[in-house]
């Protein structure tokens, strides 16, 4: 066993020394929608700058699309040195195969050392495929990338549903890694930079993609499965009876939320079984989880850890949920919810 481990380290060292240090720059893939970039993308820019500084290299934004040059100015405050821009009318919408073809061509000519992508539906699709195409090292959802004095990289990531952590080192370049941008903080660089636009000339055949997107289905946020919803309202014992659900449903319509609940709520038949959140039900990771009348037993809280923000309305000040919630409202949900619906209606239109 020990011998085996030693040979692995020796081989690793040998492979590492074989690499010619031709890495130039830390790239990040800039996702954009309707001519804008979101906060996650800016956080990614900051992370790329951070790693580039540690490696003594430059940070690059890679922007692919149609008429996207203007997006480069967003990244200046986050320390991005250059923006590699590929503009083509056939690249207006994301298409996995076409984008991989473009990126692979860019990487082969410019040889970056690291490429970062956000772990979104696009990043999770693009990153492994690009890595497979380039025979590059791939780390999904890293939590940390460390750079040692010789510029060697090690990456950490959670495995076994977060019960353990794996540490890996890339043996080939570039390192393609995705990260959940919720883990990152939005910090501006010490000195804002004038991001220089570099137009990459690439010959693209729009027919290179064998798959084609033929349509798009928009989900009804109230009907969608709790595990996929952006906003979830959870109901529990505090609901008391099925009739009281009407007020919650009204709030859900205004907020565009999906209703879930604790085991108690499904056992009492207040809500459908497939809407149960917890150890015996679904795991959720919404942007907002509004917790109404759930005390927060661990069977339930185990499955809600992925929520970005939690607001709890509970009559019991000492309920365990108070420790987890970002905002704990001590009060009766049957009084607070109608009031909340009323006030929300005044500022936002109901989603149709």
């Amino acid at each position: 066993m020990w011998e085996n481990e030693q040979t692995i380290t020796q081989e690793t060292d040998a492979l590492r020394s074989q690499q010619t240090d031709d890495g130039k720059g830390v790239w990040f893939f800039a996702e954009h929608k309707d001519g804008k970039v979101d906060e996650g993308c800016l956080k990614l820019a900051a992370e790329a700058t951070n790693l580039a500084d540690k490696l003594g290299q430059e940070a690059f934004a890679v922007i692919i699309g149609n008429q996207v040059k203007g997006l480069a100015e967003y990244f200046g405050p986050y320390g991005t040195d250059k923006a590699l821009v590929v503009e083509n009318q056939h690249l207006e919408m994301y298409n996995s195969e076409a984008y991989v073809n473009v990126l692979a061509q860019l990487v082969e000519s410019d040889r970056p050392s690291i490429i970062l992508l956000a772990a979104t539906t696009i990043g999770n699709d693009l990153a492994p495929r690009l890595a497979a195409r380039l025979k590059a090292a791939f780390v999904a959802r890293y939590t940390e990338i460390e750079v040692d004095r010789d510029g060697n990289l090690t990456a950490r990531r959670a495995i076994h549903s977060g019960n353990a952590q794996a540490t890996v080192t890339p043996l080939r370049k570039p390192l393609i890694a995705t990260i959940d941008t919720q883990l990152l903080s939005l910090q501006k660089a010490k000195g804002a930079k004038d991001t220089r636009i570099v137009e990459a000339r690439i010959w693209i055949d729009p027919k290179t993609s064998r798959t084609s997107v033929i349509d798009y289905l928009k989900a009804d946020p109230c009907a969608v499965c709790v595990s996929e919803a952006e906003i979830v309202i959870g109901v529990g014992k505090g609901l008391r009876s099925a009739e009281n659900l009407n007020a919650v449903e009204e709030l859900a319509r205004v907020l565009g939320a999906s209703i879930g609940g604790s085991r108690r709520a499904t056992d009492e038949r207040w809500i459908a079984d497939e809407r149960r959140i917890g150890l015996t039900g679904k795991t959720i990771c919404p942007r907002l989880y509004l917790i109404c009348g759930i005390s927060g037993a661990f069977h339930h809280t185990l499955s809600i850890k992925g929520s970005q923000f939690m607001v709890s309305i509970n009559i019991d000040r000492s309920a365990p949920i108070a420790k987890m919630a970002d905002l704990m409202v001590v009060g009766d949900m049957h009084e607070v919810i109608p009031e909340l619906t009323k006030q929300l209606r005044e500022i936002i239109k109901p989603t149709t």
């Binding site: 959670a158 495995i159 540490t167 080192t169 289905l217």
Partner: protein
Amino acid sequence: MNLPQSLFTFTKAGMGGLGLIRKMRTVVCVKQVPDPTIVRFDIRTNSLENVRYITDPVDEVAISEAIRIRERNGGEITAITLGPPRAEEVLRNCLKMGVDQAIHLCDEAFDNLDVYSTAAILAKQIAKVHYDLIFCGNESMDEGNGFVGSGIAETLNLPLVTAVTRIDIFADTNTVIVHRRLKGGDREIVESPLPAVFTVETVLCKPIYPPLRTILAGLKKNINKLDAGAIGIDVRDIEPTLAPLGISQQKPRLKKTATIDSSLSPAERMKLIISGGVQQKSSKTIEKPPHAAAAEIIQFLIDNGIISKEKESM
């Protein structure tokens, strides 16, 4: 919604009768994983404890979908796995579900492979099998790299659609229309020619419960065990892309360097070191009449960008 073109050709071809429908040969890549709900990392022994191996639930979904496709279109299903001798259990489970044949890639040289090598070896064997569809789980329960599907598609130069939640096969035109999962429950509808690779999501379908007859038949079937020589691959020829350095206890990401303040009590200093200097979430408790409480909640939602005042809700 625009009807996909192949739907029309399907109705036309439908006049030829069901006899024209081409049989679908499906290859499903399966994986044995430690049950993630009970496995724990033990800092005393520096290894995983409480390891009970199961078939990856998402792979059971892939097998179930393959069986449904076989019921409709005919054809056959091959389950394939790469793993140590104990991984045979997973293939037996697949055979009991009704899979036609099972291939077990098992060799001492396959221990501690990185994802790229795993995908390359699987692709090498799949290339020898006849296939129209290749299914993989979108992400495994244990490591969750989400790489193998992409790796196989790129190695075999096949079309690929990831995160698939629904599959409709148009056998006459040899195309597939699938739904791909996007954020917030939205779906993208993608058309792809066959053969192709699809990585599936657990919401694709409910795992089937096979009848007793199928289970008993599955117990008798043979598992085709192949080592590196039989696959025709030398692991040393595949250059790994990653080297594992070990596993440890999960630590949160460092938000700032933990500067140890000597004025703190030893207990507090220990706490700071263990937490990695992560700032605690700012939790706020309010107790106000309903009207004021609701206003406070709305302010919280606006401050955190969940709703905005001017525009419609997101």
